[in-house]
Amino acid sequence: MADKNTVLSIKNVSKRFDELQVLDDISLDVREGGLVSVIGGSGCGKSTLLRLIGGLDSPSEGTITINGKEVKAPSRKVGFVFQDHRLLPWLTVSDNIKFALDKTVDNQDEIVDKNLKLVGLEGFKNSYPSQLSGGMAQRVAIARALANEPDILLLDEPFGALDAMTRITMQDELLKIWEEKKVTMILITHDIDESIYLGEQVVILSDRPGKIKKIVPISKICHYERNGSEFARTKKIIYKEFFKEREFDVGYVI
């Protein structure tokens, strides 16, 4: 059974779209303040899993509970960051963040300032999304998702559309936010490096239907050393789950 530190509990969850089985018997517990990355091939059901956790869709079988309550519909207490930043083009950065806030919240400007500062975009309150770069837009999306102080932050390949350099910067910043805010994060990715760098554990999903193939615990050192030996060792473990390594055949006799 899940202990009392568990925020998210997924129990025997399956999902079918008509005949198509997308997820098969997924069970996973995530502790409060945890950082879990989910990796899997294209179309294996990663987004579907996240949408189920976010309450945008419901499981065919099994249950998902957050803080002991079954997820039935989306909630402000679960932040969602999509692969596309999904900012409303006609609202300023500030209004985009306020879009996520309930009208009963009265210190809205304060919340906007605080969260923009967190993602390093203090000066862009009145900019429109079209004036931002892809990385900046995704930062605003993260600020928006954090505005309600969610219990869980769900991120669906948030940096997939960014260039390699920006992506690394954003990964660093996300990690910093996680350490600072102690918010539970579940990150979907198809990038092995990213899954290690942004995970205390990496959940590997198998292809069609998506099933948990393996959960790899990640040593903390990997969050500091992208090029260290531990990182390389972990990478090899995950890599092997997806690809067969070719035998290195020397081909001649000395």
Partner: protein
Amino acid sequence: MEVTFKKNKVAKKRSAFPVAKAIGSAFLYIALPIVILIVWEIVCHAGVVQVYNMPAPEIILKDAWEKITAGVLWKHISISFLRVLEGFLIALVAALVLGILIGLSKTIERITELTLQILKPIPPIAWIPLAILWFGIGESSKLYIIFYGAFFPILLNTVDGIHNIDKKYLELGRVYEVDRLKLIRKVVLPGALPQILTGIRVGLGNAWVCVVAAEMIAATKGVGYMLSNGRSMSRADDVILAMLLIGIVGKIMDDVLKLISGKIMKWS
């Protein structure tokens, strides 16, 4: 290396003479009308056409000047414009309200669908006889025709605009538990706005066409009246002047709307 060099040169050349470029563009903009005027002038003076039926530009200009100084030109234009404005504004409000209701409610859409589908193909001018029977030849019948001309483009574009809103934004509304009213204000209306504005431009253009048609049939003032009166007086210069005015005023109205649209959609 050479390629880069050439590219730089081109880029420099472009940015060095922005004024020259603007003048060139302005010239292209007015060149064709000027050519048409010159050809028109030549044709008239060469005796190719009967000056009686096709007066030269300067005769029309003289006619215009006389009408301006006598104050009649302004009277005709302003009366047509006010009619359009009135009919258009009523249509705007009605079409927006109904369009939003239809766009948001499947039930209302279904209820109104058949009626609108049948009414839509009836051109506004086909309503003129009935409008006159109902409302007489006064202002009301003209307003009705103008209203009708402006109504459908605005309505249909509003409904379409709402239907075409990206579903991912509606999903975003679900993620943050946004209530219905806020969703309409922050997502539905701004999302549909570009298309609504297109509808408004088409609607205003239609309204202008309709006022001319309505005034040609029954009026004692307005640009449409100028047309029909010119014909019955056999004054080709009056007729052509009225036509040019219709074109110019229509263009200016569209320009103004375009300008307003750009101001409203400051995010793009």
